[in-house]
């Protein structure tokens, strides 16, 4: 099977997945026990039964299931996502900022955790059996198993409450945007706010990369071509990072793609700890107020990003390892 067929197959499969997610997303909220209209009508902010009815009609909650499904599909596929029950604004307007915030957090911490994890993993594999090896493995195992929210709480306590080095809430200070938006001040302020959440997520994630890199590196280091490289008298660093790591990185890419979902889960928790206004905080507010359109939107976006990450990883296989047969 050639590359083109393979890409086509993966594309079709990814689209099938998207539709599965869409259907599941609708089913969870609209077909499960706990009728959204009843929950919504019970909210105290609606004056009486008649007003509740009017609201139901306004949001189309009184329509039969198949009509609602069509409306839902149209909303999702056009990227409009409908209108939020809480703020009464189009979700498409509100989602951008939060999505960017979450992607910023997730992206920066993915990069950091991969760099730290891979470098430490290579070092640990190279110095196998030494104290450095056991220390790195121990540290990764412990940060890996400590709950991420607890890690966040402790970091918050130490660096924010006790030392006052970093802020505990939000993405920007009021002072940085209020008088005159100076770009430099604005960016440093953003990074300053981003530091603790990123640190939490990075600590939470790097252990997995470290263990994986170490395991695959140990396997690669026994291969013949490494011996050849050594015999040629190449530098140790060249051997490790150019010869060994390149060949050991295939499982890493799979893992990075799979762990996007894991990372987004971590981000939801971390945002909650630091009151960081991204998708994670939003999901929470939406659950509190049974804001179903928002929940649809968030869940869809998260699943889409995971699917896309997996798709890209599948394609990258071939680029990194030409030996792969597509099939």
């Amino acid at each position: 099977m050639g590359l083109r067929t393979y890409v086509l197959k993966r594309t079709i499969y990814s689209f099938a997945l998207v539709f599965f997610v869409l259907a599941l997303n609708f089913a969870i909220f609209d077909l499960m026990p706990g009728d959204p209209t009843a929950l919504f009508a019970n909210q105290a902010r609606l004056g009486g039964v008649e007003e509740a009815k009017a609201m139901q009609e306004l949001w189309g909650l009184d329509k039969p299931v198949h009509v609602r499904f069509v409306v839902y599909m149209r909303n999702m596929l056009t990227g409009q996502f409908g209108v939020s029950y809480i703020s009464m604004k189009p979700i498409a307007d509100e989602v951008v900022d939060r999505l960017l915030n979450t992607f910023l957090l997730v992206g920066v911490s993915t990069i950091f955790s991969i760099i730290i994890g891979v470098v430490l993993g290579v070092v640990a594999a190279y110095k196998r059996g030494s104290i450095i090896d056991s220390l790195t493995v121990l540290s990764s195992l412990s940060t890996y198993s400590v709950p991420s929210f607890w890690l966040g709480m402790i970091l918050l306590l130490v660096f924010s409450y006790r030392l006052h080095w970093f802020p505990s809430v939000g993405t920007t200070s009021f002072s940085a945007i209020n008088p005159a938006p100076n770009t430099f001040v604005y960016i440093t302020d953003k990074l300053w706010h981003l530091f603790l959440p990123t640190l939490t997520l990075t600590l939470f994630m790097y252990g997995g990369y470290l263990l994986l890199t170490r395991a695959t590196m140990l396997e690669t280091l026994t291969e013949d071509y490494i011996m050849t490289a050594k015999a040629k008298g190449l530098k140790q660093r060249t051997i490790l990072f150019k010869h060994a790591l390149k060949n050991a990185s295939l499982p890493l890419i799979t893992n990075a793609a799979i762990s996007i979902g894991f990372l987004l889960s971590g981000a939801i928790i971390t945002e909650q700890v630091f009151n960081y206004p991204g998708l994670g905080m939003w999901i929470w507010k939406a659950i509190d107020f049974t804001d179903y359109p928002v929940l649809h939107c968030i869940f869809f976006l998260i699943a889409i990003s995971v699917i896309v990450a997996n798709f890209i990883a599948d394609l990258l296989y071939g680029v990194i390892d030409p030996r792969i047969k597509y099939g």
């Binding site: 709950p147 894991f262 659950i287």
Partner: protein
């Protein structure tokens, strides 16, 4: 005839699950022994023990075979009787008695089957089994990491099982065992903690239970007693013993006017202010139609000039047998009471009244107002009974780990939390491993389009982000611990299914399966006898390795506030700490967090150790 055995297995499973539900704090029967509320959890424990016994009995039966003979019928009758009696006893709430009965009956059950079981064990060559286990243990013992994991695990299992023995306090319903937000009591012995107070009760037991407790500890003084006499008596018949203060006129022609009696007790309180104080009391009165009374309470510092009258009653003019209790309650958290002591609701009466370490006097004063002319010449006694006196000062230091925002013992919550973490982790892992095993074997053995469908489906589930899905499902389905276990189990089986599938695919082609097929073995037989035993070692490892993620998910979900209100878990403790600004109280957030990590690590280490021993072929260099 294996039917009876299978029925027994099913009954056993139902019992075990029911017990597990009770153990997790499901809606069960609660009752009290010595004022301690015994939860449904003990009942659940008993239930699950019985369930496991019946389960094992059923398995044994289905293995041994079953013939109708008098001893077997006898044993079944005993078993059924025990079930009925147990059900009745549980219904009446005698969990402990039921437990003993269950134990006796299961002993009887085993005794009637003893010979059969013994024969069966001889046939299986029990010695060989023991030797195998010993060999396994000897290999396992060499793995330091595995031993470390098992050690931690045993510690937490011991904590979880012995929680009711280690603490008398209820983790959820034991409100105000001390003041809220109390520090650990060992803080008092380190510098800076001298001002912390323990709990203090004016009377060791509520009311005046004995004569000596009244006459040795309390003083009676009367203000002007020229024409009226005041005496103090002990009355064991009112309440659980009460003090009665009796007024009698000396002369039959003169009214005594106002006579004031003070019943006082001095007590040292050499600490800083308590967090809260309350004073329960019930008053009974006799003969007050002729001489009405007023009752008031005062606390004053001995030698100081400030005194705080914090209750004064209306004029009591009617004989009361049911008792009068102060309203609003005398409690420093009561807003009416606060405004009476300090003027507004923002002051803390505890800090005003007990402002410094000193000796204090608690004063119950009773004013007899003898001014009704028409009663001159009558002979009567006016008696005021004081009962249920309970003056309680809630401390600012308590127990090993202090208290939470509702004055509940954090140490008790920590101990009971171990139950939930282990329970959720193990049961969810068991569920996901069972699903994975089923899907993996079916998909690997049957193959073709079934395989394709199942694997595509598991791929799809693998792509879904677990935590958002979990949050949403729990929010929609309801926050019960059973929902959580089922949902975690349903979302976690995909990885294991793949491993089992690939193993099954390779086993399917082995000669022994071909041989079995050649002699005409059915699919079910091959799976049960040839495939299953060969993937068994994978099960143990996968079980150990999928517990940590279940534990972490439970903690995360609880921490987000979607906890089961009926049970306390480590995640919920951290949630409580977070929303009550308790993040600075290290004793509150360190133990649960570290414990979640330790239990997870111990399962990971155990899994790795098992992996190395049981799957040497699959062993990777670590």
């Amino acid at each position: 005839m294996k039917l009876v055995g299978i029925v027994a297995i099913l009954v056993g499973i139902v019992f075990t699950l029911a017990g597990a539900y009770g153990l997790a704090g499901g809606t069960g029967i609660t009752f009290t022994i010595n004022e301690r509320v015994v939860s449904a959890q003990e009942g659940g424990l008993v239930f699950s023990i019985v369930g496991v016994i019946v389960l094992l009995g059923g398995i044994a039966m289905s293995y041994i075979g079953f013939k109708f003979s008098w001893p077997t019928i006898f044993s079944i009758v005993i078993g059924l009787c025990s079930l009925i009696i147990l059900a009745i006893l549980f219904g009446m709430g005698y969990n402990l008695v039921a437990g003993i009965v269950a134990l006796v009956f299961s002993c009887l059950f085993v005794a009637t089957r003893a010979r059969k079981i013994w024969n069966w064990m001889r046939a299986r060559d029990i010695k060989l089994q023991i030797r195998r286990f010993k060999e396994f243990w000897n290999t396992f013992r060499r793995s330091k990491r595995g031993l470390f994991g098992v050690g931690i695990l045993i510690f937490y299992i011991a904590i979880a099982l012995a929680a009711p023995l280690l603490t008398p306090n209820d983790p959820i319903k034991g409100f105000y065992v001390s003041g809220d937000f109390a520090a650990p009591s060992w803080f008092r012995s380190i510098p800076g903690g001298e001002n912390l107070t323990g709990n203090f009760q004016l009377t060791t037991e509520q009311g005046f239970p004995t004569i000596t407790s009244l006459f040795q500890e309390w003083n009676l003084t009367a203000s002007s007693s020229e024409s009226g006499s005041i005496t103090l008596r002990y009355d064991p018949n009112v309440g659980n013993g009460s003090a009665s203060i009796v007024f009698r006129r000396k002369s039959s022609t003169v009214l005594a006017q106002k006579v004031e009696a003070h019943l006082t007790k001095e007590f040292p309180f050499p600490y800083g202010p308590p967090r809260r104080f309350s004073c329960n009391i019930t008053l009974f009165a006799e003969g007050v139609e002729k001489v009405p009374v007023r009752v008031s309470f005062t606390i004053k510092q001995v030698g100081g000039n400030q005194s705080y009258p914090f209750f004064w009653s209306e004029k009591i003019e009617n004989t009361t047998k049911t008792g009068v209790t102060p309203s609003p309650p005398i409690d420093s958290y009561d807003s009416d009471f606060k405004s009476r002591i300090g003027g507004d609701i923002w002051v803390d009466p505890a800090k005003i009244v007990f402002s410094e370490p000193a000796n204090y006097t608690y004063d119950i004063s009773i004013l007899f107002i003898d001014n009704k002319e028409e009663t001159i010449g009558d002979t009567f006694e006016t008696i005021v009974y004081i009962d249920d006196l309970n003056v309680k000062l809630y401390g600012t230091a308590f127990g090993a780990l202090g208290t939470d925002q509702l004055g509940r013992d954090i140490f008790a919550q920590f101990l009971y939390g171990a139950r939930i973490s282990l329970f959720v982790g193990l049961l969810a892992a068991l569920l996901s491993v069972s699903i994975g095993l089923l899907v993996g074997i079916v998909s690997g053995y049957v193959g073709r389009f079934v395989d394709e469908i199942l694997m595509r489906f598991s791929d799809m589930l693998l792509v879904l982000p677990v935590l958002p899905l979990l949050i949403v499902l729990i929010a929609v389905l309801g926050t019960s611990i059973m929902n959580l276990i089922v949902v975690i189990g349903m979302l976690n089986w995909m990885g294991f299914a793949r491993v089992v599938r690939s193993q099954t695919l390779s086993l399917k082609e082995r000669p022994f399966v071909e041989a079995a097929k050649a002699v005409g073995a059915g699919t079910f037989h091959i799976i049960a006898r040839h495939i299953l035993p060969n993937v068994l070692s994978l099960i143990y490892v996968s079980l150990a390795l999928s517990v940590p993620s279940a534990i972490t998910y439970e903690a995360a979900i609880s921490w987000l506030g979607l906890y089961d209100p009926k049970v306390i878990s480590w995640g919920r403790m951290l949630y409580d700490a977070q929303i009550n600004e308790g993040i600075e109280r290290l004793w509150w957030i360190i133990p649960p967090g570290i414990s979640i990590a330790l239990v997870s690590v111990s399962f990971i280490l155990l899994g790795y150790a098992l992996d190395e021993i049981l799957n040497p072929k699959l062993r990777r260099r670590r």
